[in-house]
């Protein structure tokens, strides 16, 4: 039997092209495996071969979603593969969105099965887990050795037509499709075991998680913006020069509140970004590109808005856990409410 053909998609970082300074790198196709592709090739053994690797920059893909998708799709089409593998992207948001977008398109538009891998909090996972088999990974690339064999195994099943097991068996993020299987232990025993763990305050995993529909109803519009006090909040990591609160460049555990009374403009001498997930050159040059104090201060003077709030709030949204982000925002919101802020402009990079 001839070998199956696989095309692999990775970002500029795993493609060994560069880090954030190369995030604008447009898609490029190389022959054979590159970077993590070599581990995939080993996992496939003699059953399948990575014939080509497509590498693109995370920012390039996300800023040009439609053209990027079309271009990469064409590169995949030319190879006529039996399987498309994207990532794994771990907790890298832009990379995860790119992997999901292209894997979904390869399946629907080319009819070729796809597999990817992500951490469950990756925004790409929420967007695509029901469309593309997404192997659950840890939140950073240290988990590569564990995830590659799982992705390769599921990929081989997709190519050979072998039945896919339940998510818990094959290691993918639950995709809304229920599979029946015979467990080793009967239900009563599993329930008692779970209860024992719960009583002993030990961690346990439910077999039937409740769905969480966490949507917040839109607040009413601002009636008169010329009287409104507006605050700026950002996940783009803008901080006073020197980063006094030592906000981490990724996986932030804190946020900062910075007073801007009397500040008309954020300059390269006074502000910078602490964010490690995008090329910092432009924000360091002029932080108004992320936290638009200059325009809003002028609008305040011109009477177009009531007031620019005296503080802006900033954290680094780079691999930062949902739990931490939530905690920061609850805290920030309480302060904003107590200070009579009427509306928030929240900027993200």
């Amino acid at each position: 039997m001839s070998k199956f053909k696989v095309v692999h998609y990775i970002n500029q970082f795993f493609g060994q092209i560069g880090s954030e300074d190369m995030a604008d790198f447009p898609a490029e196709k190389r022959q054979g495996p590159v970077g993590p592709g070599i581990a995939f090739q080993q996992a496939f053994g003699d059953k399948a071969e990575i014939t080509a690797t497509i590498i693109s920059g995370d920012s390039w893909f996300n800023e040009n979603l439609e053209t990027a998708k079309a271009l990469v799709l064409e590169m995949v089409r030319e190879e006529k593969p039996d399987l498309f593998v994207a990532g794994p992207a771990f907790n890298a948001g832009r990379y995860g969105v790119a992997c999901g977008t292209i894997a979904d398109a390869v399946q629907t538009e080319l009819g070729i099965p796809a597999v990817t891998g992500m951490y469950e909090e990756n925004p790409g996972a929420d967007m695509f887990r029901e469309k593309v088999y997404t192997i659950a990974t840890g939140d950073n690339a240290a988990g590569m050795r564990k995830v590659v064999p799982l992705m390769a195994k599921l990929g081989l099943k997709l190519m050979t037509g072998e039945a896919i097991g339940a998510s818990i068996e094959d290691g993918y993020l639950p995709n809304g499709i229920r599979k029946n299987f015979f467990d080793k232990e009967r239900g009563a025993a599993r329930a008692v075991n779970m209860l024992m763990k719960k009583l002993a305050d030990k961690p346990f995993v439910t077999e039937y998680p409740m769905p969480s529909f966490d949507r917040v109803e839109p607040q009413p519009a601002i009636k008169d913006i010329t009287k409104a006090q507006i605050a700026i909040v950002t996940s783009g990591g803008i901080v006073p020069k020197g980063n006094p609160d030592r906000i981490e460049s990724s996986s932030a555990t804190k946020y900062g509140a910075y007073n801007i009374e009397g500040v008309d403009d954020l300059t390269a001498e006074t502000y910078e970004t602490a964010h490690g997930g995008y090329d910092p050159v432009y924000a360091n040059e002029d932080a108004d590109r992320v936290v638009p104090v200059d325009v809003l201060r002028q609008y305040e003077k011109d009477g177009k808005i009531g007031k620019l709030h005296n503080w802006f709030y900033s954290t680094v949204g780079n691999g930062t856990s949902v739990a931490n982000s939530k905690r920061f925002a609850v805290d920030i919101a309480e302060k904003l409410v107590s200070q009579g802020v009427d509306a928030v402009i929240l900027t993200s990079t």
Partner: protein, 76 residues
């Protein structure tokens, strides 16, 4: 973060470049921006032109805050 602030009773406009992520995290008022490393800027423009671009984006954001919405809305 958008959700928790809005939940506390303050309308939020989310200005970001990757709008599908904003929709996934549950923002209700969304204004698409220029690029990931410079959402409200464009380094190849002159400072005056760049300021003008930024103020146009802020105008959109203010308009979004003044608009009643019942569902997630992208203000192009």
């Amino acid at each position: 973060m958008v959700k928790e602030i809005e939940r506390a009773g303050i309308p939020v406009v989310h200005m970001c470049t990757v709008t599908p992520i904003s929709l996934t995290v549950g923002a209700n008022r969304i204004v698409p921006t220029v690029a990931i490393p410079y959402p409200l800027g464009k380094p190849d423009l002159s400072p005056e032109e760049e300021y003008k671009l930024r103020s146009e984006l802020i105008d959109k954001a203010l308009k979004a805050l003044m608009t009643e919405v019942t569902d997630q809305t992208i203000f192009e």
